[in-house]
């Protein structure tokens, strides 16, 4: 799967798609392939909750492991994608089309500090995949 060029990426394998002051957050194709079949999504935060960059905002569980999802930037939750609770397999099937949170961004410079698609691809390769 090719990595979408319009997204930014964290070192903990989350993607962020920015639109003005708001953004969507999800997990990367690398993350879902490492986890394998995802069976649970648990949201740690509710709408209107504030969070810091790197804070754990959700947990996903696969048949192999559980993993924390970290906020790639600081902000506030605008919307939670509740469809994923019943259909967590969407994260496997369409990682870049399945967002976990819609957020408002607190500090746009935090977005600039994230990796672009090309850098993230290299980052994944360096980890032996």
């Amino acid at each position: 799967m090719s990595t979408p060029k319009d997204l930014k990426f964290s070192e903990t394998d989350e993607w962020i798609k920015v639109k003005g002051n708001t953004a969507l957050i999800g997990i990367t194709d690398f993350a879902q392939s490492q986890l394998s079949d995802i069976v649970y999504v648990e949201y740690e935060l509710d709408v209107d909750d504030d969070f810091e960059k790197d804070e754990t905002v959700a947990t996903v569980e696969s048949v192999k492991a559980a993993a924390d999802i970290h906020a790639p930037v600081s902000g506030t939750i605008l919307e939670i994608n509740e469809a994923l609770i019943d259909n967590p397999e969407h994260l496997n099937e369409d990682p870049y089309g399945s967002w976990l949170f819609k957020i408002s961004i607190e500090d746009p410079s935090e977005v600039d500090a994230l990796m672009d698609a090309e850098t993230y691809d290299r980052f994944c390769e360096d980890r032996g995949d």
Binding site: S36, D37, V39, Y40, E61, V63, K64, A65, E89, G128, D129
Partner: protein, 487 residues
């Protein structure tokens, strides 16, 4: 052939039990207490016996064959353990009996406490915890109580290496701490620089499994302990892998402050099939007062004529009771027997052979599997269950294929820091021939992965039930063999 459930065997009106003619007047149950919605299976005695005997024959256990389940130390459980645990004085004792009538049982607990302290180099111990994870929880609460007793209120963090057992972050969190992850370096040790950077005076302690889950001895153990102690933190030892160290290292003497044992791993006792476990927690002198209550001690000294009177003692700053009564006594009897049968030299032999077996097996596998962090291992090692030139083959396929050869698969997908991990622990109770046989099977499977990948993808083929749908099993939980009809 799949065995039907007991409900599927049920036949209306069939019964395997008759009430005796009552010798008291018969009374009718009030109507409001009667219910018709609970369907017991209607079966005869022979139906029951055959059903459960067939199920038991489908089971796999250490008594049937090799069981290299990494980190679980699935060693053979000597039969003398079972004989001792069945002695009526042990098996029939009631925990509320007056202590004068169970002095033998208390003496056994006391002696086991003394032996475990000697083996581990600690000053105090509780045998209460039900298993390893509860032992960790006890450790977390003791750390908390210790810092609070010194009015040291800023310590909110517990450090946990990324090679730790999954229970370590869970129990730290349950004890009220924030968990901070410490990465491993390229040799599979704790990253010392990172540790120095992260460790400050807000750290309550470090939870360290040594050897770690890669089966590797922490090469900078003394430095790691010193870094934590320098900042006023405590070092907790996860004793799950203690089978590598018996008679070789005493964790209490190298600076650990707390440690739990897994009696159900290191000291045999039944383990596969879900327990029961037993997770005693030993502590250094400065933490003895915080141990859960009660601990067994001598309440009246004896003399030449009379033996001492054993009873219960409450440590002065005890964190309280962790479990009803005195722990899993039956497992304590087995561990006592195991230690008594082996003696000090025997215990050291156990660890030496466990380490030798693991290294021999690792060597036999040669290049068939990649073992990252390739250095001499302790009692277990972690191999990768994938090959770049065998696309689509995963550790799960390798593990499932092993079942076709009559072997219990190793732990897989753990530790998380190894890709497609297969964690293999042969234990000391397997013979050289058994280990060679297992190595041959693993090599055969590696060959099949390259030549007949479909064989692995669809494995197991020779078990009563084939490949299970793990996703469905995790998502659609049905925890009852009888599903109530919809209203």
């Amino acid at each position: 052939m799949a065995e039907p459930t007991i409900y599927e065997i049920s036949s209306p009106g069939r019964t395997g039990f008759q009430f005796h003619q009552p010798d008291v007047p018969v009374a009718q149950l009030p109507a409001e207490l009667k219910r018709n919605d609970l369907p017991f299976p209607e079966v005869s005695e022979v139906d029951v016996i055959r059903h459960f005997t067939r199920l038991s024959q489908l089971n796999y256990g250490i008594d049937l064959g090799f069981y290299p389940l990494g980190s679980c130390t699935m060693k053979y459980n000597p039969r003398i353990n079972e004989e001792m645990a069945r002695l009526s004085g042990f098996a029939m004792a009631h925990p509320l009996q007056p202590i004068e009538t169970v002095q033998g049982n208390l003496a056994l607990i006391y002696q086991l406490q003394e032996w475990l302290k000697e083996i581990s180099g600690f000053s105090g111990i509780t045998l209460q915890p039900a298993a390893g994870a509860q032992g960790e929880f006890v450790g977390g609460l003791i750390m908390r109580a210790y810092h609070l007793s010194r009015n040291d209120l800023k310590r909110t963090k517990i450090l946990v290496p990324d090679s730790a057992h999954g229970t370590n972050p869970a129990t730290s969190s349950m004890s009220g701490f924030e968990v901070v992850n410490i990465p491993s370096d390229s040799r599979g040790n704790i990253d010392l620089e990172k540790l120095k950077e992260i460790c400050d005076d807000c750290v309550a302690g470090l939870m360290l499994t040594n050897p770690n889950t890669l089966g590797l001895f922490e090469e900078h153990l003394q430095e790691v302990i010193a870094i934590i102690h320098e900042k006023g933190g405590l070092v907790y030892g996860d004793g799950a892998n203690f089978n590598a160290l018996l008679g070789i290292i005493k964790p209490g003497e190298v600076g650990f402050d707390i440690m739990h044992f897994n009696l159900h791993k290191t000291f045999s006792t039944p383990h596969g099939g879900g327990g029961p476990g037993s997770g005693p927690v030993a502590v250094a002198a400065h933490l003895v007062d915080f141990l859960p209550a009660p601990v067994v001690g001598i309440v009246e000294e004896g003399d030449d004529e009379t033996p001492p009177l054993y009873g219960f003692i409450t440590p002065s700053k005890s964190i309280g009771r962790m479990k009803s009564f005195y722990g899993h006594f039956g497992v304590l009897v087995r561990a006592f027997t195991y230690i008594a049968m082996h003696g000090a030299n025997g215990l050291r032999n156990i660890s030496e052979n466990a380490v030798l077996n693991a290294n021999y097996l690792k060597k036999l596998l040669g290049n068939a599997y990649t073992v990252p962090y390739d250095r001499a291992c302790m009692h277990e090692f972690v191999a990768e269950g994938f090959w770049d030139d065998a696309p689509g083959i995963h550790a799960l396929d390798v593990a499932k294929r092993m079942m076709d050869y009559g072997i219990h698969p190793p732990t897989n997908y753990f530790p998380l820091i190894v890709k497609e991990a297969l964690m293999i622990e042969p234990t000391e109770t397997e013979s050289k021939q058994e280990i060679e046989h297992f190595a041959e099977i693993m090599k055969t499977i590696a060959h099949e992965a390259h030549t007949e990948p479909e064989l692995l993808h669809t494995a197991p083929h020779h078990t009563p039930i084939g490949r299970l749908d793990e996703v469905k099993a995790a998502k659609d939980l049905v925890l009852c063999c009888w599903i109530p009809p919809e209203e």
